[in-house]
Assembly symmetry: C2
Homo-oligomer: 303 residues x 2
């Protein structure tokens, strides 16, 4: 089996630049004040500005580039998605959920503050994401803004991310088959990643074929990402991951690795990554190269 | 001091009819399935379809009537607000927050299910509210839909409801002055009530003066509502309220009653209610009568 490529220097550079830009946009958007409720604002900043890789906003920026979208608009959409992603991690880490003490090597939000503040900070971040998308700075055309809102809500709600988190809770102690595990991951992480990849097409009013190509790319990429996550949960070590590893297996949760075995899971991830890249062939002149590199990176990442 | 009027038969009838309509819309909107994640959908229904008075949607429907808005549109907006209101109660009742075992005489959601399901059901309801508003069934004009999204997010987020909940947490053990308590209530309940009153004006593309009148009405109504809530917390009994009473005072929380005393708090509520009604004078031909009745009802309610 060929060993997967690591991130190309070009991709690494682009991802670093994107991370800087998104962090700047997030810092600008997140509330700050000296009012009595400022512990909430502090907690929101703690939960969002915590060294995340910003892979999701990177997908938005790259997708937007394909259609010549103004980068400031793409940055706002990328930031909104990162607010949603951050809220989901904050709530996921709560004692009633995954009960994780650490997140990216630092105390998780409820450990640094308390459970009540973590619940409220998550709620505030989720709500804020929709305010950012609905603001006219995100796009001059209200039709575009309202489509972004609708698609994000659909990806993050009961038929998307939250539904997937519920399945994930139920998976403890249940023995789901590989079909249900795929669905779980499609809901829990896949739909939001799909939205990331499609957002540029929405902002750029792309034709349906291009939008569909990005949707297909996202579907395979998202699943490759999740299978790799399951592999890392078994193979990774706590220092590299910055969080507890082996937790899913310990909790008796069905994952791609417990269902398929290590080798078959690794092959599945590689097959999905290759398939993801094939969907990008419709973008000529090498315009899709960076997104192809992402499909390689997702396999090769060690954290 | 004249004793305040109770709800007029006409108002009671309208409120009952509104409750039926909104419950029907909510039942239609809330997800249902036999998929593995269906405990989430069940919990969402449990948390929303629990005998609520639907006062907020009533305000939306009455405001929309002033501008001849199609009632089906107003019902969707009213339902979206009720999803947000329900999510806030579900998260508020959690052990990490108010730790309330009962809500409207029944076990609170985390008691009927568990804490994790309550967190996720709240998250799902909040997200769904924005999906409902962004859907074109809510209004044909995307400009209207995106404005509804933006205003709801602003009312419910860190500078609105969630900020108010944070202040409420901090208020335990702190001695806030009456100015900060007013601000707390304006954030925690007032801004969402303002949005309810303004939503009809947004749907009906009302002129700025009419929209401002409704905003002013809402501000006074919301505060009257909250002062009355504090009075009921002291004066009410657990059976009538369907929830624990006297909890705020027991927890040493500053309220209008602890700061002003019973008599002055009651006067304040009456003054605010009268002021709210004065803002409606710009709606001729008795069109604002039902909203005037609401201002009376808010004072007179016993639960």
């Amino acid at each position: 089996m060929p060993s997967p490529r690591i991130a190309s220097p070009e991709l690494q550079q682009e991802m670093d630049a994107c991370r800087e830009k998104i962090n700047k946009t997030l810092k600008h958007l997140l509330p700050e004040s000296d009012l009595a409720e400022q512990p909430l604002f502090e907690a929101m900043r703690y939960g969002v500005l915590n060294g995340g890789k910003r892979l999701r906003p990177f997908l938005v920026l790259q997708g937007a580039k394909l259609f010549g979208v103004d980068e400031m608009r793409a940055r706002r959409v990328g930031a909104a998605i990162e607010l949603v992603h951050s809220y989901s991690l904050i709530h996921d880490d709560l004692p009633a959920m995954d009960d994780a003490d650490k997140r990216r090597g630092k105390p998780s939000l409820h450990k640094a503050y308390d459970d009540a503040t973590a619940i409220l900070a998550g709620d505030a971040l989720l709500t804020m994401a929709f305010e950012v998308l609905a603001d006219e700075e995100t796009h001059a055309d209200p039709r575009v803004r309202v489509e972004l809102v609708k698609e994000l809500a659909s990806a993050a709600g009961p038929h998307g991310m939250v539904g997937g988190q519920m399945l994930d809770l139920i998976a403890e102690g249940e023995s789901f088959d590989i079909g249900t595990i795929s669905r779980l991951q499609r809901l829990k992480t896949g739909k939001l990643i799909s939205f990331c990849c499609e957002a540029g097409a929405i902002l750029g009013k792309a034709n349906p074929a291009h939008r569909q190509a990005l949707r297909n790319y996202a579907q395979d990429l998202g699943l490759a990402f999740q299978v790799t996550d399951d592999l890392l949960d078994v193979e990774g070590n706590a220092i590299e991951m910055g969080k507890d590893t082996g937790k899913d297996a310990d909790a008796g949760k069905a994952t791609f690795v417990t269902e398929l075995g290590l080798e078959a899971a690794r092959s599945r991830a590689e097959m999905l990554s290759a398939q993801a890249k094939r969907h990008l062939r419709c973008f000529d002149g090498g315009r899709g190269n960076m997104l192809c590199d992402v499909a390689d990176y997702v396999l090769a990442r060690r954290q």
